[in-house]
């Protein structure tokens, strides 16, 4: 066992650090500092730089255009990205449907979709949750009926509604769990479909969340016709893909590198803010009550980090991400949420002003220092993390059943 990076790893770290420093789009950093919402082009700008470098498919095998990096290299890349405040690439194509397609897809599906996911040409969104199927995902009701059309080819006709679909307003494609056999047990009648968002019959409606963001949507399907060759894996075996994908989603969800940076930012705020309790002005970070919470958070993050490293070590020895990744999801999201709590506490009175963001032609400077604008909205926004990707209650059920055997 060795905690130190090898000379090769250190050289790799330097390369990554230099590349990000030289190539990260300046306007993205400026927008993030001001708490501005990112446009579709913003999201894609860093993706395209990384894709050109061959670094978009971080966890992908080399044969599909991935980096083929070791888990240590992936760890280093995540650390360096967070250190430079570089955005994380959206997971829907790269970390979700991409791995499903290269694991379960046909050669034609791989050839058609994978290069476009890597390049950022296709924007993907995830059609899983439904109004009646949240934690109980397998109860989903969006149905896909198979039929033969006049052209002699086979299609599915899709009807139903998905919800909480992140950034569907920008999406070119949606991967969906749909019910293809209404008569069998819930998990056994589901198929995994890839649907072109331009297909007639699809309607996207925004859902505005607590901070005023438009990030999630309802996606409605009314007689949407999908070629059968857009189904991944066998008909009625989509749950296999779903379980595989959820396990993948959970490992990324720990967000250790981003949380490390998040704690650094809280410390920066707390070094800037003053606290004059008792009459003597000190930086907030010198307040023993606040400092203790930051210290506990750092310690909990270290515990999570080393738990994740142990999981990664297991993965590199051929064990896929298993139910243990539920632990990473629970602890990772709890830490992410606590960071937002501390940031909101740190800004004091200036947590209250609501900054609508910069609209078209609106360049009035927001109230207070830059770091205050998103403190409250971000706190509200991050409540989603203990709900999405399988709520933390569901994750505990998974651990109880699959790990503890209860």
């Amino acid at each position: 066992m060795d905690l130190n990076f090898s000379p090769e790893d250190l050289a790799f770290r330097d390369e990554v650090r230099a590349f990000i420093a030289d190539n990260y789009p300046h306007h993205l950093k400026a927008k993030a500092d001001h708490g501005e919402e990112l446009s579709k082009a913003d999201f894609l700008s860093w993706h395209k730089v990384l894709a050109a470098k061959g670094w978009a498919g971080i966890a992908w095998p080399v044969e599909y255009g991935g980096t083929g990096w070791t888990s240590v290299q992936r760890y280093i890349f995540a650390e360096e990205s967070a250190r430079a405040d570089a955005m994380r690439l959206l997971p829907f194509g790269l970390n979700m449907v991409g791995p499903v397609i290269y694991t379960f897809g046909t050669p034609e599906q791989k050839a058609k979709f994978l290069p476009r996911i890597l390049s950022g040409e296709d924007w993907w969104c995830q059609g899983y949750s439904e109004p009646g199927a949240g934690s109980d995902l397998a109860s989903l009701r969006t149905k896909a009926e198979r039929f033969t059309a006049d052209d002699g080819k086979e299609y599915y006709r899709v009807n139903g509604q998905k919800t909480w679909t992140t950034l569907a307003q920008h999406a070119d494609w949606i991967f969906c769990l749909v019910r293809t056999d209404p008569t069998s047990k819930p998990q056994e009648g589901i198929s995994f479909l890839l649907i072109d968002m331009k297909t007639p019959g699809i309607t996207v409606r925004p859902i505005i969340t607590l901070g005023g963001e438009h990030e999630v949507n309802e996606v409605w399907f009314e007689d949407v016709v999908v070629p059968v060759e857009n189904r991944v894996f066998h008909e009625n075996k989509g749950w296999t893909c779903a379980k595989f994908l959820l396990a993948h989603e959970r490992t990324g969800i720990a967000g250790v590198a981003a949380s490390k940076r998040g704690i650094e930012k809280v410390k920066e705020i707390a070094r800037t803010e003053t606290d004059s309790f008792g009459g003597e002005a000190q930086p907030l970070i010198a307040n023993p009550f606040f400092k203790r919470k930051v210290a506990e958070l750092e310690i909990d993050l270290t515990a999570l980090e080393f738990t994740e490293l142990r999981t990664l070590a297991g993965e590199s020895q051929g064990k896929g991400p298993g139910p243990e990744s539920s632990l990473l999801k629970i602890k990772g999201t709890e830490i992410q949420q606590r960071i937002t709590e501390l940031a909101l506490e740190a800004v004091g009175h200036y947590g209250a002003p609501y900054f609508r963001g910069f609209g078209e032609g609106d360049n009035e400077h927001p109230i207070g220092p830059d770091y205050v604008h998103r403190a409250a909205p971000h706190y509200f926004y991050m409540r989603k993390t203990s709900i999405y990707g399988g709520s933390n209650e569901i994750q505990r059920n998974i651990i109880a059943k699959m790990v503890l055997g209860l």
Binding site: I207, L210, F289, Y354
Partner: protein, 375 residues
């Protein structure tokens, strides 16, 4: 010992409750929140004329109902339940608190205007550097001829955009954080030299950064004595803190009720999610926080007149700040995705709960204050 409300107090609660249930539904509230004015003067007029509650804590001699802190508690709890944004706290609790304590000509002039619904008061006490220390003041008063001049910047002044008067804390003498030398003045909002930058708050209210540039006023503007008003400010802020504790009691009660209702309706895995023991226990924990919020609010309110008022108020606010967070976060969690949608009331209760946590000092501040006072 008697924890019973009087008949008048029960009637007060019922009439406020009925009025808000009839007219202040969530959709109407959202219309006001998203409107240009940011408050509803018609509601205020009804508070004054139909309900008469703007006189709740004032003496009958002033035209009030002859109540006090308990009446404020009752009204504030109902305000919390209905997520009322109109400025009862700043005008009646805080404005009324200062004027009642100060007495004199200014009280005689302004209290009837509050009761009639004509005067709206905003409390300009926070400063960008001051955090929760009420004496940390850069805003300064200096004598000039036979009058005074005020200069400074007040942060996040709630209800300022539609206020007719500002209550401003400022330093008349001494160093920036000295306990001596602090004053409070009441100024008409139209006084020359006052400018504002208005904005919405995350919990549906309105506030402003308020700037004072060579604002001139006379001796009659002082509430209490020039240079020795900190004790009065602390007293009124403690009364206001007890009042937001009462508001919190209404807010967490609604968060809990809404969550219980939802858990009975929402089905997953073939049954209402309220049947899952893990969620039952969570909702029991929320219930216990709600009950303790009510208890601590009552404790603090009943002890506002005692010598160790500050310690009791800090005990209540610390406990309630933690309850607000626990109940708010779990209400959202049990609702799942729709808990963070802007379309349902539950998320707006959560936002208000989160802002009350920090109002007049967060859990840490009040724990530290309690610690320093517990001996």
């Amino acid at each position: 010992m008697d924890f019973n409300f009087t008949e008048e107090q029960t009637l007060l609660r019922e009439s406020v409750q009925r009025y808000l249930a009839d007219t202040y539904d969530f959709d109407s509230r959202q219309k006001t929140v998203n409107g240009d004015a940011g408050w509803n003067p018609a509601v205020w007029k009804a508070f004054a004329e139909e309900l008469g509650i703007l006189g709740a804590p004032f003496g009958e001699a002033d035209g009030g109902l002859g109540g006090g802190a308990i009446e404020n508690m009752i009204v504030m709890e109902e305000i919390g339940r209905a997520l009322v944004i109109e400025p009862y706290l700043s005008t009646v609790v805080i404005g009324g608190g200062f004027l009642k304590a100060a007495g004199g000509a200014i009280a005689e002039a302004v209290i009837p205007e509050i009761i009639a619904g004509n005067a709206i008061i905003a409390f300009a006490y926070a400063e960008p550097q001051g955090r929760y220390n009420l004496a940390d003041l850069r805003t300064a008063i200096r004598a000039d001829g036979d009058g005074f001049v005020l200069n400074g910047h007040k942060a996040v002044v709630r209800d300022a955009p539609f206020a007719t008067h500002f209550l401003v804390t400022a330093r008349s003498s001494g160093g920036q954080r000295d306990r001596d030398g602090v004053s409070v003045v009441l100024l008409p909002a139209t006084t020359p030299g006052i400018t504002r930058r208005d904005y919405p708050t995350v919990d549906g209210g309105r506030a402003s950064e308020v700037y004072f540039e060579n604002v001139r006023f006379g001796t009659d503007a002082f509430i209490g004595n020039n240079g020795s008003a900190l004790a009065l400010i602390e007293q009124v802020v403690d009364e206001a803190t007890a009042a937001v504790c009462a508001e919190a009691a209404g807010v967490v009660r609604k968060l809990h009720e809404g969550t219980l209702d939802y858990s009975r309706q929402r089905k997953q895995f073939g049954r209402p999610i309220g049947e899952f023991q893990v969620l039952q226990h969570r909702m029991v924990d929320m219930f216990m926080e709600v009950e303790q919020t009510v208890s601590m609010t009552l404790m603090a309110t009943l002890r506002l007149g005692e010598a160790d008022r500050a310690r009791h108020v800090s005990a209540a606010k610390n406990k309630i700040a933690r309850s607000l967070r626990f109940v708010g976060q779990n209400a959202v969690q049990i609702h799942g995705g729709i808990g963070i949608s802007n379309e349902l009331a539950i998320g707006h209760y959560f936002k208000r709960a989160t802002m009350i946590e920090g109002q007049f000092g967060d859990a840490d501040y009040h724990l530290r204050r309690y610690e320093s006072l517990m001996g």
